[in-house]
């Protein structure tokens, strides 16, 4: 599955490691939440970046104490119809101020890209090659946003206020 990061298809810097496989040294690894939580200290002290795949039915609270030492968090969309990871993403970004890579995995399709970006995702494990190739174009579909989220895009309500103020300043 192609990975889209920084708006382009890119090679994945992380190696996904199965729970029963040994952790390679000096390589950025992506491991399950279960493996991570068994002994977070040991894993974080090992040389090399660590990313954790966090399931969508577990509160992110257990992950929060480690956020500043994680290089990536991957949230899961078992099907694109299951939207729990959008809430997890916003909590990680907006409440816990997580600044590392936030990756969308699972059934990640073109028509969810804008929602995902707005929720704080910045890396996308895209299901279909054609969707990954269409990323840059798709994310320009919308120029108007009604809700404030942590992505900093200005909302329609506030854009109106700005327009109003600039009009009155001009007269």
């Amino acid at each position: 599955m192609p990975l889209v990061k920084g708006g382009k298809i890119t090679t994945d810097g992380f190696v996904a490691v199965a729970d029963d496989a040994p952790l390679p040294v000096d390589v950025a690894v992506l491991i399950s939440s279960a493996r991570f939580l068994e002994d977070p200290e040991a894993i974080l002290q090992r040389p090399g970046k660590v990313g954790v795949i966090w399931p969508n039915n577990r509160d992110v609270d257990d992950l929060v104490p480690h956020l500043d030492r994680l290089a990536a968090v991957a949230l899961v969309f078992p099907t694109f119809r299951d939207g729990r990871a959008y809430s997890q993403a916003r909590l990680l970004r907006e409440r816990y101020l997580y600044r590392g890579e936030l990756r969308a995995t699972g059934q990640v399709l073109r028509d969810q890209f804008v929602f995902m970006l707005r929720a704080g995702f910045d890396a996308f494990d895209v299901k279909k090659q054609s969707d990954a190739e269409a990323f840059a174009q798709t994310v320009q579909r919308y120029s108007v946003f009604y809700q404030p989220t942590g992505d900093g895009r200005i909302t329609a309500l506030h854009r109106r206020m700005q327009l109003r103020h600039s009009e009155s300043a001009g007269t």
Binding site: D59, F80, R81, D82, G83, R84, Y86, S87, Q88, R90, E94, R95, L109, D111, V114, F115, M116, R118, A119, S130, R141, Y142, S143, V144, F145, Y146, Q147, P148, T149, T155, A156, L157, H158, R159, R160, M161, R164
Partner: protein, 551 residues
């Protein structure tokens, strides 16, 4: 009327382009039907028994004459010349072609109408009192807040893939015409002891196979906190609502399983963590939305003008006026309800010709504004009382002067098995038969206010649980049967009806309703004791006896 600006128009146009691309990818096979299904649902497109059905939103039930004309155009150009108004301030077209949908949406977008989130597991059309802004005694116009919620819920990046659909309703009157207690999230605008305006928040109401009346989780939320509090509710629901079973996925089940206190606490905790964030509404922003609602320049008019005195000699006019004209907050004006329940017709249907003609009448007599109510009727909200006789004549000419508002033939019904792939039984023919049985206006008037609600399956689109008489179609061994409940109501005293006994056959339904009505006429304490109050006083037993004694 809320006037779209360039920002609102841009978003709707961007949505149309997106959907055009999605349809193109489906038609080319790039999208599977499974992938496309949710995308089309998010734009109001269902696959029904015979064709695609297209549901268009009429936010908080307010339409301009230009918009109504455009709906007529869609009915004529893309459908079979009529539309069906639903219980949630939507209009449905039943015979639309997939390839033409993007064009229909583009035509609607030109007049600021969209179909976003009229189905699918997301926040649906925000509904309100169809008399908002004109009802006497209203706290304030609830549509300001409904529009803020419409914008807030439209294409929400966090809540577009909820466990199940999610419906908002908002009222600002003591008498609830928006049925807020049977919505996932009901809001009641009121003033607290300090005279501040805010919202009582009710959660977990809903019908369907597990009906619940909504429960209050917070008696007062200030206007500035409305969106953050709503976001806290949605976030709790998105994370913890059940996704393992579609029948247990609505928020009412989560509230029921957690208990309302625990649910309210979860919401409170979430809200405290973010209540002072970017969702806080400052006064200026609210006032900006308020300023974009325009109100008519009412004239100073007499309450009893000459025209009305003269017309009072015409008994037919008087019958209609007494039935269909309601008090307006401004002297000299009235609110006119337009019944879409003609004798023998399907409830809620209007032809393209009727829509066009009504748009013209709205221009002439109601400052170009039309309202849509959850009872599947329309209204002209600002009619000068002196114009009532002329309006009545014009409505009568287009078949829209049936004087049966709130009477036994003012029936709410879903499309049923005639159209819907979910239905177990027909609804429309039952409604048609009942309107014929009670076609005599004097009889219907003698019976007084009585709401019959009919659903063709347990999903309860016809709100049968909250009908004074509720009729639910079920299927037994391949045959249509109907369960009858009585005593339900959807207003501020909302209650679920009680089953009176075993289900009856299609042919028997109208007879059973007649028996119930006869029992009521014999049992009521006074002529002005409403049916639903008699049931409340006596319980279902005397009605059960009357119905089943001879069956």
């Amino acid at each position: 009327m809320y006037a779209y600006d360039e920002i609102d128009r841009t978003l709707v146009n961007e949505r149309v382009s997106e959907f055009r691309d999605q349809v193109k990818r489906r038609l080319s096979g790039e999208l599977t039907e499974d992938e496309f299904k949710m995308l089309r649902l998010q734009n109001g497109v269902y696959l029904q028994l015979h064709a695609y059905m297209f549901r268009v939103a009429i936010p908080y039930g307010t339409l301009s004459s230009e918009q109504l004309r455009r709906l007529a155009h869609v009915a004529r150009r893309y459908d079979r010349g009529y539309g069906h108004f639903t219980t949630r301030q939507n209009i449905q077209f039943n015979w639309i072609k997939l390839a033409e949908l993007p064009d229909a949406l583009a035509d609607l977008a030109e007049v600021g109408i969209h179909a976003m989130q009229t189905s699918g597991n997301n926040t649906r059309n925000v509904t309100s009192d169809q008399w908002a802004g004109v009802a006497p005694g209203e706290v304030e116009d609830p549509r300001i807040w409904a529009e803020l919620l419409r914008q807030y819920t439209t294409l929400h990046p966090e809540f577009s893939f909820l466990p199940r659909k999610f419906k908002f309703a908002i009222t600002a009157s003591a008498h609830d015409r928006a049925a807020v207690k049977i919505h996932d999230l009901g809001l009641r605008l009121h003033k607290n002891a300090d005279g501040e305006t805010g919202f009582e928040v009710l959660v977990g109401g809903g019908l369907g196979r597990t009906p619940f009346i909504g429960k209050t989780i917070k008696p007062f939320v200030a206007g500035s906190d409305l969106l953050s509090y709503v976001e806290a509710i949605m976030r709790v629901y998105n994370q913890y609502g059940r996704r393992d079973n579609i029948y247990k996925a609505r928020i009412k089940i989560l509230v029921h399983e957690l208990g309302v206190e625990k649910f309210a606490q979860e919401v409170e905790d979430e809200w405290q963590a973010m209540r002072d964030g970017a969702l806080k509404l400052d006064h200026e922003v609210v006032e900006d939305i308020r300023a974009r609602f325009s109100y008519p320049a009412y004239q100073k008019l007499a309450h009893m003008p000459e025209e009305l005195k003269k017309a009072a000699h015409d008994p037919q006019f008087e019958t209609w006026r007494k039935n269909s004209v309601f008090p307006h907050k401004v002297q000299g004006y009235g609110i006119v309800t337009i019944s879409l329940k003609p004798v023998g017709g399907p409830p809620g249907d209007a032809t393209a010709e009727q829509m066009d003609a009504l748009a013209d009448l709205a221009d002439k007599y109601s400052f170009g504004e039309i309202r849509v109510g959850h009872e599947q009727n329309l209204a002209l909200p600002h009619v000068a009382r002196r114009d009532l006789p002329a309006l009545w004549k014009a409505l009568d000419r287009i078949g829209l002067a049936t004087p049966n508002v709130n009477l036994i033939t003012d029936i709410i019904a879903c499309p049923g098995l005639d159209y819907c792939s979910l239905a177990n039984a027909r609804s429309i023919p039952i409604a048609q038969e009942l309107t014929k049985r009670f076609a005599n206006h004097d009889t219907a008037n003698l019976i007084g206010r009585l709401h019959i609600n009919i659903s063709g399956c347990i999903n309860a689109c016809g709100h049968h649980h909250v009908g004074h008489i509720g009729i639910l179609g079920v299927e037994k061994n391949g045959e249509e049967f109907y369960q009858i409940t009585i005593g339900g109501r959807a207003d501020e005293n909302a209650e679920l009806g009680t089953l009176i006994g075993p289900a009856v056959r299609f042919e028997e339904v109208a007879d059973v309703v007649e028996d119930i009505v006869e029992a009521y006429l014999a049992l009521r304490a006074r002529p002005d004791e409403l049916f639903v109050d008699t049931v409340k006083r006596l319980g279902v037993e005397p009605f059960r006896e009357r119905v089943y004694a001879t069956r």
